[in-house]
């Protein structure tokens, strides 16, 4: 099997599984229990927190709140900033059209509560422009939330510059870095980030674990009320084994980041080169400013789900922005945001590889996608119309 869906989730590293299992077996205490085994669990918890601090170059362990994943972190960050905004009479938020639903749906809810949301254009290349962020910030803007890297098309945003703009304007800047952390260099100080969300299962850590970075001085409100865990900012008995495994996975990912990125980028570029040979296809998102492992194409005249099914038959696990793969009527909002029209967006394919993907696998994927696209086009009424000149090619 060729697993090329690492943006959806990753396989846990052996080290992370081992750390988690050991903790479940031997260190099962409740960190809130003040004595004996509870204190041992607390030690593991705080040790893990220190690793996270180092990994993202935070300044203080108090800046990390462990959550149940990226979605929760996004929700909490945005809701907290909105809370502060409401109190200060600032009810405007700047974001982009291609954020993850954890961000977009939270913003939608806030809109119903009276907030005004500006969604910035991400242009054809899938890149937000810092000067447009600057222009969008108003007197009453309480938050700018822009993802570090897009989960579908992999484009890496100019976060540092966006952060600088927000600092200059004195507006809280949150970034959904779920796809970035552990894959590309993230430094909350260098990047001028006030709040950052991450999710462990995207960097070979466990599912159901994530964290929120909150720069010292920013008041965070809790999404889940209850016990005094996480300094009162996130109630619920801490998932110590999961947190420990998260730290192990992130430490490894960061230690090997440059090496892995270099390897992965080479394979990614070969994959892109190969798929470009398919006529009437186009890469989605900027070709260079993208995550090391992300390849995303549209192929005219075919539909993504049937493409995925046939690739699955060949042992290739991928994903698509087609409406049919999500059960909704519309194709991916990300592809629409970069200007792909509906019919083309339905014919998209995302392959997200990593450093372990072999060259043979890359070549096999290129061959397979070529074959399958050609086959599906052979009985596509749209393709017929395009080739017979009854319709104009878009790509």
């Amino acid at each position: 099997m060729i697993y090329a869906d690492n943006a959806a989730t990753t396989k846990m590293s052996d080290a992370a599984i081992e750390a988690m299992t050991a903790c479940m077996k031997e260190n099962y205490g409740n960190p809130s229990s003040l004595y004996g085994i509870g204190q041992k669990a607390k030690e593991a918890l705080e040790g893990a927190r220190d690793e996270i601090v180092k990994a993202i170059h935070a300044e203080n362990f108090r800046e990390i709140i462990f959550t149940s994943g990226g979605s929760e972190a996004d929700n909490q960050a945005i809701r907290s900033a909105a809370e502060l905004g409401r109190t200060a009479g600032k009810m405007h938020i700047v974001s982009t059209a291609f954020e993850h639903h954890a961000v977009l749906h939270t913003l939608k809810k806030l809109e119903k509560e009276g907030f005004e949301i500006t969604l910035l254009d991400v242009h054809e290349n899938g890149l937000v422009r810092p000067e447009e962020v600057e222009a969008a910030i108003r007197e009453d803007t309480c938050l700018v939330t822009i993802m570090y890297a897009n989960n579908e098309i992999g484009t890496i945003q100019p976060i540092r510059e966006i952060g600088a703009v927000c600092r200059a304007k004195n507006v809280i800047f949150h970034t959904d870095a779920v796809q970035a952390v552990g894959h590309i260099s993230v430094d909350v100080v260098r990047d001028n980030i006030d709040m950052l969300s991450a999710s462990a299962h995207k960097f070979h850590g466990p599912k159901g674990c994530g964290f929120l970075y909150v720069k010292k001085g920013i008041k965070i409100s809790s999404l889940i009320e209850g016990g005094a865990q996480e300094r009162g900012k996130r109630a619920g008995t801490e998932n110590v084994p999961g947190i420990v495994a998260t730290a192990v996975a992130l430490k490894d990912a960061v230690a090997n980041l440059d090496k892995n990125a270099e390897i992965t980028v080479k394979k990614r570029d070969r994959l892109i080169e190969g798929l470009k040979e398919i006529p009437h296809s186009a890469i989605n998102g900027d070709e260079k400013m993208r995550l090391p492992g992300n390849v995303n194409f549209c192929f005219e005249g075919i539909e993504g789900e049937s493409l995925l099914l046939l690739l699955d038959d060949k042992g290739i696990q991928a994903s698509s922005g087609s409406a049919c793969t999500s059960g909704s009527l519309d194709p991916s909002h990300v592809l629409l945001a970069i200007g792909r029209v509906h019919d083309v967006a339905h014919g998209s394919l995302r392959l997200t590889i990593n450093e372990e993907t072999t060259d043979e696998e890359v070549e096999f994927m290129i061959r397979s996608v070529k074959e399958v696209v050609e086959y599906l086009r052979s009985f596509s009424p749209i393709w017929r119309d395009l080739t017979e000149g009854k319709k104009q090619f878009i790509l």
């Binding site: 539909e303 049937s306 099914l309 049919c324 019919d343 009985f379 749209i382 393709w383 017929r384």
Partner: protein, 125 residues
Amino acid sequence: MSLYSEKVMDHFRNPRNVGVIENANGIGEVGNAKCGDIMKMYLLIEDDIVKDVKFETFGCGSAIASSSMATEMIKGKPLSEVRELTNKAVAEALDGLPDYKMHCSVLAEEAIKSALEDYEKRKSE
């Protein structure tokens, strides 16, 4: 667990009656690319019997399987029977479709109806 039944996967992997009938006397096309599904049916009708049928489909796995199954169900059948074909029958013949994929079987029924209409129209001209 698989999203689709074995039957659906079989018809998706080995679709029956794929292609074009050059001398078709009833052609129907339904759906639109915006929604992600287009089905085109070619019928060759002789003596009120579907002598031959072929299809072309742009769409997901269940759209292709529904087209394939629908063509099988009407091939060689008298028009009286063909007119009775329902999307439910197509879905059942496929051992069921996920709820949100039922519209694919609807498309198959509509594509055949549309091709039949085209045939009637040509005849009356």
